[in-house]
């Protein structure tokens, strides 16, 4: 790490922070403030990467793929270096023009019509699931609602048949993916060891014969048959689809329920006007930011508005979560307020890499929230919440609530 230290320009603050220690993962907000107060960009001594967290500086970086490339990986490790633990994602970790071709192939599949079809298909399940939890005393909104719902819906959108222990395996893969975006710390190594025994299963799931007709998986292989993407890209896109869509969506839904349980007046507002579902989901994503960070690589020396320069060929860790609570961008940034309008949060990114599966996540969130509005008059906290600590995914392990009709 020390080799990069001499290249850090003098006007850039060197911060002694560790976004990955347990205390900071639990409560990252003080660390966010340190980063925002250090200027447009600072240097994280411990990991030898630059770091930024101001909304006004972050949004333009995400939009400028020419100067801030994704090709060195979405995590802090440089995946171009020898020994990288996995192949790059053919959609997340490439830039135009290659990216455009792949993104278009995926977007041709994820049409608004298909999302509507899925919405109709899964509405009854959301209704039944929530209906069974109403007036059932203390329930866990994570294991009994959001994770159960997403673990039912999402594999079907890919086209996977049920298999024993699938839910646990899928969430373990997600944990591995997001731990892998941070350093190779003890947390990552433990997850890697736990996941080792399911990697064969994982690889088998990406193969064509594992995929039922009508799902994303079958459709992406068909796109390869038509020559829209390379044949070897198809299984990697299924991997990216799974990574992007499972834990993130479930984290969003759990957090939305947790936030609504703490803010009964906001839930009342949603009940009175169910079109506010979208605002609830966006405000939840702003405050919780399931994917906390993304990384970019500088393709040239880049000078920010406050005169700080990051030299070419450096990784910058972009704290989406810090940008989403920037007091310069939002009044009362830590408050859950579903009546906010702009500016746009960056939880889904922005620009060419903006989350391509967000319409699926929004569809799932909408189904659960609408089912709640239909059955539940009040959502009350019913015990202490707890979190999963992960190198990059912010999520609840448990959200005890009571749902009253």
């Amino acid at each position: 790490m020390d080799i990069s230290t001499p290249t850090v320009p003098n006007n850039i603050s060197r911060l002694d922070i560790d976004p990955y220690d347990d205390v900071t993962l639990e409560h990252p907000f003080a660390m966010h403030e340190v980063v925002r107060n250090a200027g447009s960009v600072a240097f994280m001594e411990r990991y030898g990467v630059y770091v930024m967290g101001r909304h006004a500086d972050v949004a333009p970086v995400l939009q400028d793929w020419q100067r801030f490339s994704s090709t060195s990986g979405s995590g802090i490790a440089d995946i171009r270096k020898p020994g990288a633990w996995r192949a790059p994602s053919p959609i997340v970790e490439v830039d135009p023009p290659d990216h455009t071709k792949v993104r278009m192939a995926v977007q041709r599949i994820l049409t608004p019509a298909l999302i509507r079809e899925w919405k109709e298909l899964f509405a009854d399940y959301a209704d039944e699931l929530v209906g069974n939890l109403v007036d059932a005393g203390r329930i866990d909104a994570v294991s009994e609602l959001s994770e159960r719902f997403v673990a039912h819906v999402f594999p079907r959108t890919i086209g996977w048949a049920d298999s024993p222990g699938r839910t646990e395996k899928l969430f373990l893969l997600g944990q591995l993916n997001f731990d892998g975006q941070g350093p190779r710390n003890a947390r990552f190594l433990a997850t890697e060891a736990a996941a080792a025994k399911i990697m064969d299963w994982n690889n088998a799931q990406m193969r064509r014969e594992a995929l039922l007709p009508g799902g994303f998986g079958e459709k992406i292989y068909a796109a390869a048959d038509r020559g829209e993407i390379e044949p070897e890209t198809a299984p990697l896109l299924i991997r990216s689809f799974l990574r992007g869509g499972l834990d993130t969506t479930s984290a969003m839904i759990s957090a939305a329920i947790q936030l609504l349980s703490e803010a009964p007046e906001q839930y009342e507002m949603l009940r009175r006007d169910v079109t506010r579902v979208r605002s609830v989901l966006d405000e939840t994503m702003r405050l919780e930011t399931p994917i906390q960070t993304v990384c970019r690589l500088t393709m040239e020396d880049v000078t920010f508005a406050d005169g700080r320069t990051v030299p070419k060929d450096n990784k910058i860790i972009v704290l989406l979560s810090a940008a989403n609570r920037d007091p310069l961008a939002w009044e009362r940034p830590d408050e859950f307020d579903i009546t906010r309008k702009m500016p746009a949060h960056v939880a889904l990114g922005t620009g060419v890499h903006m989350c391509i599966g967000q319409m699926i996540a929004r569809m799932e969130g909408e189904l659960v929230l609408k089912a709640l509005v239909k059955h539940v008059k009040s959502i009350r906290p019913s015990g202490a919440t707890s979190r999963n600590l992960n190198n990059n995914l912010r999520s609840f392990a448990s959200v005890p609530v009571e749902l009253k009709s």
Binding site: T100, R103, M104, Q107, R108, L110, T111, P112, A113, R116, R278, K341, M342, A344, L348, T350, M354, C355, I356, Q358, M359, R362
Partner: protein, 107 residues
């Protein structure tokens, strides 16, 4: 600040001011213009910011990218020659006074 006129299906008009650099979609959402949803925030993923440019403006706006052009085939109401996804049109003083027609539905 450049102005945009949104013409609703019932021909009523809403005029909003946009910051230069903001998209027409962003200006519409910020100002609660009915009929422009912009659900995906401008990622070309949702087709809920479909508009028809006024004939007088159709050729004064930079043309749609191939990507936008493909997405326009998936809009809820059918496209025509001047159809655009207005998240892809960035406002500038050159577009001051632009008129766009909002379709009946975005879903």
């Amino acid at each position: 600040m450049p102005k945009i006129t949104f013409v609703a299906p019932d021909k009523s008009e809403a005029i909003v001011e946009a910051r230069s650099g903001d998209s027409i979609m962003a200006a519409a959402v910020q100002n609660d213009v009915a009929g422009i949803v912009g659900e995906c925030g401008g990622a070309l993923s949702c087709c809920t910011c479909h508009v028809h440019l006024d004939e007088d403006w159709a050729d004064r706006v930079p043309p749609a990218s191939d990507f936008e052009n493909e997405m326009l085939d998936m809009t809820a109401t059918s496209r025509d020659r001047t159809s655009r996804l207005c998240c892809q049109i960035s406002m500038s003083d050159g577009l001051d006074g632009i008129r766009v027609h909002v379709p009946e539905s975005q879903y």
